[in-house]
């Protein structure tokens, strides 16, 4: 379905040359246009605007900047690229932070070439790319927000909540079911499942932005005094 469309512009950020090249090669072989590669966070942030990549494949484990910070800075650029986190297992907290600050996908490094290509295509198309691990993290985050003490004043944003259906879908993703299997089981269309997953991310990212703005405003008010 992507054959008629122009090649996806991808930037690959990984401090490990072997990985960087392998991923770039795989993407190029599959018809993507690798517009830039970077070996550290600063380089990535510097090159991204000129490269105008649609998708940044980002390793969170970078030598100079935390991957989360790189993600945040990429999100601040105009136009902001879509970020697909390609990271090793065992960096769960970082992954959650990256997703909250705008990354729309997560894939473990052990994923196959096909999974990577599929993930890049879906990320470019604006879909959220979830692994079971990410679904578990997102579920946990919503629960944490729900039970966390609400902000002292009523002006604070209410904790975001998942609908029952969204929770159901996320739980099935976390248990390793594919979107198609989920669609079959819940008698939904594939697209609907995709939308539910997407919405959960959207809520999380919106909440994160609101929190950041609130924090900035509080700081600003404090400074005026």
């Amino acid at each position: 379905m992507t054959t008629d469309q122009p090649a996806i512009r991808v930037m690959v950020v990984d401090d490990h040359p072997m990985w960087r090249e392998a991923v770039a090669r795989d993407l190029a072989d599959a018809g993507c246009e690798v517009v830039a590669t970077a070996g550290d966070g600063r380089e990535a942030v510097r090159r991204a605007p000129a490269a105008a990549a649609q998708v940044v494949v980002l390793d969170l484990n970078l030598p100079d900047l935390p991957g989360v910070e790189v993600c945040r800075q990429l999100m601040g650029q105009q136009p902001a690229p879509k970020v697909l986190v390609l990271s090793a297992s065992g960096e769960q907290a970082d992954v959650l932070e990256a997703v909250k600050s705008g990354a729309t996908g997560y894939l473990v490094k052990s994923a196959s070439r096909e999974e990577l290509l599929d993930a890049v295509r879906r990320t470019a198309a604006g879909d959220a790319v979830f692994t079971p691990g990410l679904a578990g993290l997102v579920l946990g985050e919503f629960r944490r927000l729900a039970v966390a003490p609400s902000p002292d004043d009523s002006r604070g944003p209410a904790a975001p909540r998942l609908t029952d259906r969204e929770t159901e879908v996320l739980r099935l993703v976390a248990k390793g079911l594919s979107y198609k299997q989920i669609a079959d089981r819940l008698v939904l269309s594939h697209r609907t499942v995709q939308n539910h997953v997407q919405n959960t991310l959207g809520k999380l990212q919106l909440h994160n932005r609101v929190e950041l703005v609130r924090y900035a405003m509080e700081r600003g008010l404090d400074d005026d005094r």
Binding site: H16, M18, W19, A22, N61, A88, S89, G90, Q92, A93, L96, K109, S110, A111, S112, R113, T131, P132, G133, L134, A135, G136, L137, L139, G140, E141, R143, R144, A146, V147, R171, A174, K175, G176, L177, Q181, R185
Partner: protein, 396 residues
Amino acid sequence: MGSGRPGDGFSVEQPLWRAFSAFRLLTALYAVGRYAGDSKYYDHRLAAWVFMGVLTLWTVATMRVFASPERCGWNWLSADLGLIVVGNLLTRAFDSPANLAVAVTLPTIRAAASVLGFALRGGWRPATLAAVVVGLANVAERGRLDWTNAHNIVLLLVAGVAIGYVVELARAGERALATALEIQAATRERERLARDIHDGVLQVLAMVQRRGAEVGGEAGELGALAGEQEIALRTLIGEGLAPNPSYQAPRRPLRKPGAEPDPGAEQDLRALIGPLAGSRVTVSAPGTPVLLPDRTATELSAAVSAAVDNVRRHAGPRAQAWILVEDEPGEVVVSVRDDGPGFAATRLGEAEREGRLGVSQSIRGRLRDLGGSAEISSAPGQGTEIELRVPRQRRS
């Protein structure tokens, strides 16, 4: 303090030698002053003055030499000691034989400075030797051993031995400190290296897994092994927790050997279940600790282990399993799902009776003991899922 090289800024050596050099000068001045007061008792005053002049000149001229451990060798110390001995002996030659009022030798306590030099240089043994030499010269000057010079000799010996001993201790301490600093630096360097190397190794392992899976066949097996090792290593480095690379369910979940069981203690369930992850097992959990009382966490993770074991036994060694840990306000839910063939719901009781789900009995038993429940569901072609629920006690 971690920035200093061994011996940097901690040295007792330099201050000691500087103090020693100053002590030499002060004692020499004292000797001159003392002689100025006592000169009336001497017969050969001019000759004695000449000696005092030589002693003072020597002391002042060699100040720099005696102020540093590198320059002040045994020859300098011996020359200094020789001059003191000569001074002691000259005292007898210069003073009036009838007059015993001169209780002190020409160099007087300047002799002690010479002995201290030996103490600084070589510790208490050379100091003792030097003190004995000075003492003998004293006795020779007096012509006999009496209370006065015995007293002086003992004082000299005590000072030499004590200072020499303290200097040896200080040096040993300094060496120990230097060694400790070296070890510390080496450890830090090793840790840094380990991080770098490990990260490289992990990347290569992950790459082998990825490529192996693409090539398939035997390479795929190899890749799967590499993947398991990668997860194992990463867990080891990241949390210091030994993971379970062979995908063998631990019957006795991790517990510190010999640790006192504390009924109030809580454990992070993720830490107990995490090691089950492997190339065929995916563990999904919240990003924050899932705390449960010690015993509950242990029992629950043992049940999860049994469930994962069950997957391998009944769904085949190639089956994938997914573990989902959920931390809800009222309960903790752990689901274990596999992608095996599964079975129709109507056959569940039958399968259980056949012992096909034998392990499920023990799982159910464990969960019942915890006040929770275990639910098994399956559909043909959709794998089997077991959901373990443990109620959470009200936190006070």
